[in-house]
């Protein structure tokens, strides 16, 4: 049959036969040979480097000034996985979400790869020549201002000092986007030294925090969490734990973890502190602050209880506040002094250096800029115009400065105004040091060659002083001259240095800060401020985006806020009552106007626990360039952009900041709120506030399961098993035969909810380890986020005494897994060691497993997620398959780490020790709430944790036999009935 015959006379059957034959031929010819794969070996293999093996290098996190210890996992020459350094004295092995997301920032293709001169690409020689010439031309009267965020690096500080010394008019101004200036200024008055105390939560038995989000984003959260958790593990023998009271206007993560939480507007902190100060001052027999305390918004009984608790724990209590009012901070100091906490829970001899900004200096700089008194402006580590109010005036003033230099990694808001951008290396590319707390000097080492032609700021500053010295030499010289001497080492410098590079830090005592006796005359009760009806605005920083510097990191943008669970946006948080009174529903656009006339238009977020007169807006959003994320995530027919055309991710709230009372005020009074027409959907990962099924959707006879359990310390002391719900026998035992003996290992996990703060570091750790894609705002809105861990947040109680539990929820690796029974292609099967295995290459995407999963932890790849950026792809972990469209995925309990540890043990001929395998989430957890191990080994930590009387399994009554168990929350309260997150109380639906 020839072609024309086929065309004219072929029957349907003949046609299909021919087509089928052609197709099989084509298929066979197509897969005859694989494409040629080339393998390029080293020319000279560096010593110690073995292709395919992960190497760990000790370093210091450069994500914020907290300076946590890092172990940078480098595989085949590229840094891939950040881990906390367990030996680091401050962070103790934990690492926050920002630290975990560092590699993605490194492999950002929009980071500047070369210096810019007037916005045009230039060479370093050109830039250096021009800058040196302009600096040399400066006269004696010309002001040279170097603005940085807090510099904890002794070497960088010394280099800046030496650079500025060559100019008579040189000065260094520190600007923190979220400043703690008032704490330092208050200490300057009460203790005669401008310093930030080193808070030692591990010593604190009673913590009273006025708005300070120390478990969230305040100063050094990883360190604080690690210290805080040491007081949060009551045992039946020793049922004691710290008592943590949070008084705050907005709902912070720290408030969510408090034993007792009061709603208090920021303007009311002073009144409550005054009464406490009066109470404690009288008890201690100390001189009282001058004046009369204003009327307290708190009930007398609550005040008395607080005072009683603080006094009983004197020397082991801690009062803190994030207020930017010096008067408030002086009262805080008074309280801590009267309680004898200095030297115990607050160290001012070896103070913290994590916040150094002096807002008065910043205000002076702003005035000088506007007056045209600045001849040269150099800015490093912060975005001057983005993080300060009065942007337009400031920008206009900066345009008149003859020499403006930025060290930013990209042309950010300030960078666009600069004459030169001399991009600094990424923290993972540079030699640097850090002294976050006096006496602990931490070292950063590069883990790869700079990807672009960026240059360390140390080198740039040396070059402009006419010295060609590398950053490494500058650093080493400073260590030789200063740090080694401080460390009082007896070994030769090279040995000391090698040791420091290996360990990542040294302990080098610093001279104790010179403080005076407590200056009682400086403390006074503030004048009474009658609480108006007007709103107050609290500007805060989120856990993931502390200031504008991480806004280009999509992992952090997509990290659900631990409290609001919102991604990809900032918004105005307001209380349900305030919203109801104004007829506002979530997502409605509202306009917030401050007393100085600055307004923001953002969607409303209804947040329980928020003070009725407080609005809260997150800083760190509205960063220029974030419109790049418009098309992040799958682009399909119904896709909506993550960022609307002409907009940015969120809105910058920094213009609302006001300079008053020698500080940049983040809490503002007399704010008005107006409902605007229009809506903007907020993409949230959790929309239900409690486990209670709303009456309108509950099927008749629906039972509520106690997925989170909680008890009080008083009840726990009586009965360690307190809080165990009554479980009905539903006789489901026969459904699954016990045909998996698990004779070898049996992997399991235990999560202590009493230590888990919900900080979400584990989430990014998992994303980094397991190649979890970013899906964009629209897909999150459609509940298609891909994170393998979600942190469920449940509220109980009422707005005035809200109790929150955070519960990390990932695949529970059930021994009787409902997902396994329904997979038609055996793509999810039970391993011999108890793991519920997901086999991607078998999965055909029926999604039966996800439907049958009682924990709803399975994630389906609806799309090919963006993998077009070759540089960004370097962040992918080669030990984990990158999943494709149509495949189900979920937590694997880091099976690649299990396999690696097993093979290593075999290679070294040693038994697989308990603790040799750490899952990514466990490693990162700042409060060490997660334990992974072998449940067949009775000595293992996880087996011990499973014997804990607080242990429970989620939905255990169905006989799923989850391998993940939880330890219930114990709240340090006197009543004996814990809040029920599912049945009791008035829940917010």
């Amino acid at each position: 049959m020839n072609y024309s015959e086929l065309l004219n006379h072929a029957s349907r059957r003949q046609f299909l036969e021919a087509a089928g034959f052609t197709m099989s031929l084509a298929a066979l010819s197509g897969c005859w040979r694989a494409p040629t794969v080339t393998a390029l070996p080293f020319v000279h293999q560096p010593e110690g480097v073995v292709p395919g093996r992960m190497m760990s290098y000790a370093s210091t996190c450069g994500g914020c000034p907290a300076g946590c210890g890092l172990l940078v996992g480098v595989r085949d020459g590229r840094p891939l996985k950040m881990e906390g350094n367990p030996e680091h004295p401050l962070s103790r092995g934990g690492l926050c979400a920002i630290g975990q997301a560092l590699p993605l920032g490194l492999y950002d293709s929009q980071r500047l790869a070369y210096p810019l001169r007037d916005g045009q690409q230039a060479t370093w020689d050109e830039v250096d020549g021009a800058i040196t010439k302009q600096l040399a031309a400066l006269g004696d009267d010309d002001a040279v201002v170097f603005v940085t965020s807090t510099v904890t690096s002794p070497t960088l500080q010394a280099t800046i000092d030496s650079f500025l010394k060559s100019f008579p008019g040189g000065r260094h101004v520190t600007l923190d986007a979220v400043s703690s200036s008032a704490i330092l200024d208050a200490h300057a008055e009460t203790h005669g030294a401008r310093l930030l105390p080193h808070y030692r939560f591990e010593q604190a038995k009673v913590i009273v925090s006025f708005g300070a989000d120390f478990l969230g984003a305040w100063i050094s959260p990883v360190e604080f969490m690690a210290a805080w958790r040491t007081q949060r593990t009551p045992t039946p023998d020793k049922p004691v734990m710290s008592h943590h009271v949070q008084l705050e206007g907005r709902m912070s993560l720290t408030g969510a973890n408090a034993d007792r939480r009061f709603r208090l507007a920021p303007s009311e902190y002073a009144a409550v502190l005054s009464h406490l100060a009066q109470d404690i001052g009288k008890r201690a027999g100390l001189e009282l602050p001058t004046g009369q305390p204003p009327k307290s918004p708190l009930a007398q009984s609550d005040l008395r209880d607080l005072g009683e608790r603080l006094w009983n724990a004197r020397g082991a209590s801690l009062v803190i506040s994030d207020s930017q009012s010096i008067a408030v901070q002086k009262l805080v100091n008074y309280l801590n002094h009267a309680l004898g906490n200095y030297g115990q829970t607050l160290d001012i001899e070896q103070p913290s250096r994590q916040r150094q900004a002096s807002d008065a200096d910043v205000a002076q700089l702003m005035a000088d800029l506007k007056a045209g008194k600045v001849a040269a402006l150099l800015v490093a580590g912060t975005d001057l115009t983005q993080n300060l109010p009065q942007r337009e005036e400031l920008a206009a003033a900066i345009k008149k400065v003859p020499l403006v230099i930025s060290f930013a990694e990209r042309a950010d808001d300030f960078g666009a105004l600069a004459h030169y951008i001399c991009p600094d290396n990424h923290p993972l590319e540079s030699w640097l040091d850090a002294e976050p707390v006096s006496g602990v000097v931490s070292l950063s080492q590069p883990t790869l060659q700079p990807l672009g032609q960026t240059r360390s700021i140390l080198e740039s500053l040396q070059r402009w002083q006419g010295r060609r010295v590398s950053a490494y030499d500058t650093l080493q010289a400073h260590w030789k001259d200063v740090i080694a001497k401080r460390a009082k080492t007896s070994s030769p410098f090279q040995v000391f240095w090698d040791q420091a590079v290996h360990n990542g830090f040294v302990e080098a005592t610093a001279a104790a800060a010179k403080t005076t006796d407590f200056q009682f005359d400086k403390v006074s009760f503030p004048e009474s401020q009658p609480a108006g009806e007007e709103f107050e605005l609290a500007l805060y920083s989120k856990i993931a985006l502390t200031d504008s510097r991480h806004a280009h990191n999509p992992w952090l943008q997509e990290l659900p806020d631990p409290v609001t669970k919102a991604t990809w946006d900032n918004y105005v948080c307001l209380s349900p009552a305030a919203a109801e009174a104004r007829g506002i529903v979530e997502g409605d656009l509202v306009k917030v106007t401050t007393a100085s006339g600055v307004s923001l238009e953002l969607p409303a977020m209804i947040q329980v626990g928020q003070h009725d007169r407080v609005l809260a807006v997150a800083l760190g959003y509205g960063v220029p360039g974030t419109d790049r994320f418009a098309k992040i995530g799958p682009q399909w027919l119904e896709a909506r952009p993550t960022v609307a055309p002409g907009e940015l991710v969120g809105q910058n709230a920094a213009p609302c900041i006001e300079y008053r009372d020698k500080a940049l005020q983040l809490a503002l009074t007399n704010v008005t709120l107006e409902k605007q027409p229009g809506r903007r959907d907020i993409a949230k990962t959790q929309r239900y506030p409690s486990l209670k099924v709303p009456a309108n959707v509950a099927p008749p006879g629906a039972e509520v399961r106690e997925a989170v359990q909680e008890t009080t310390l008083a009840a726990f002391a009586k009965d360690p098993h307190a809080g165990t719900p009554e479980v009905h026998d539903i006789g489901a035992g026969q459904l699954w035969p016990d045909d998996h003996p698990k004779l070898g290992h049996h992997w399991g996990m235990a999560i202590d909810l009493n230590c888990c703060t919900g900080c979400s570091a584990c989430l990014i750790a998992c994303q980094s380890e397991n190649n979890v894609p970013v899906v964009g705002k629209d897909e999150v809105r459609r509940e298609r986020e891909m994170h393998w861990i979600r942190i469920d947040r449940y509220y109980a109680g009422d707005d005035d005494d809200l109790q929150t539990v955070h519960q990390p929820m990932m695949c529970q690796h059930c021994d009787h897994a409902p997902c396994e029974t329904v997979c038609p292609v055996l793509a999810t099967v039970h391993g011999a060691e108890g793991l519920n295995e997901q086999v991607y290459n078998r999965c055909v995407g029926t999604r039966y497993c996800a439907n049958n999963c009682p924990y709803k932890v399975r994630r389906f790849n609806w799309f090919y997620y963006e993998r077009d950026d070759d540089l960004r792809n370097l962040v992918l972990n080669p030990d984990v398959t990158v999943r494709t469209r149509g495949v189900m995925e979920k937590c694997s309990m880091c099976v690649q780490r299990i396999e690696h540890a097993r093979i290593e043990a075999k290679r070294l001929g040693v038994p697989l020790a308990d603790g040799a395998i750490q899952t990514a989430c466990q490693q990162s957890c700042p409060s060490q709430a997660i334990i992974f191990g072998d449940m067949n080994d009775p000595e293992s930590r996880v087996s011990q944790a499973k014997l804990n009387p607080r242990r429970y399994g989620v939905l255990e009554e169905f006989n799923f036999q989850p391998s993940v168990s939880y330890q219930r929350v114990v709240r340090n309260r006197d009543e004996e009935i814990g809040e029920q997150h599912s049945t009791g109380g008035d829940h917010h639906a």
Partner: protein, 217 residues
Amino acid sequence: MQQRIITVILLIGICFGFTMLVYGMMDWRLPDRETGYSPEQPIDYSHRLHAGELQIDCQFCHTGAKQSRYAGIPSSDVCMKCHSVVTSSFDVLQQEQELADSEQRKPQPIISDKLRKLYDSLALDQDLKPKEDATATSIPWTRVHNLPDFTYFNHSAHVSAGVTCQRCHGPVESMERVRQVEDLSMGWCVNCHREVNKAGVNGQPVHASTDCSTCHY
């Protein structure tokens, strides 16, 4: 007429579909089809000579096999452990030595064509001194044994367990040019894992897991 147009359109569509299919399937691999794959390499390196005749241990060059997932292809400087002295085949060098002796002069440096490529990769000149105008580049070897990206094979685990290289790679010491001997299919892997669980490796009992997550994660 209309029917005919539809048929033509359909045919064009199907042809286009086939073309796309074939194109798409270029990346597909059926593992057993790779048996006997023996691609030409940039340097005609002889495993028969090195591993067979000279009896150099496999792990002398493939150092990663014991410690890493990858056995690794030796870096060029590993070759230089011997080839900084041995610049050509023994016969040629010996002839030149004899000739030089008889002519009472120093022997001329002789570099074979194959080794020239090695020295080029290291940017070495005729006297094996670094060239100033050239930078060292890797030799682009062609991979013979390829596994799909969703399969994680670990050399270290197998070497530690005492599995010989030849068990999977065949008699490499007899191959002039390396050839894939086994099909490296999943069935082949699993069969071996099952067998050694019964019979052990070299008389030693081993536990070779047949869980999916042993290789797929």
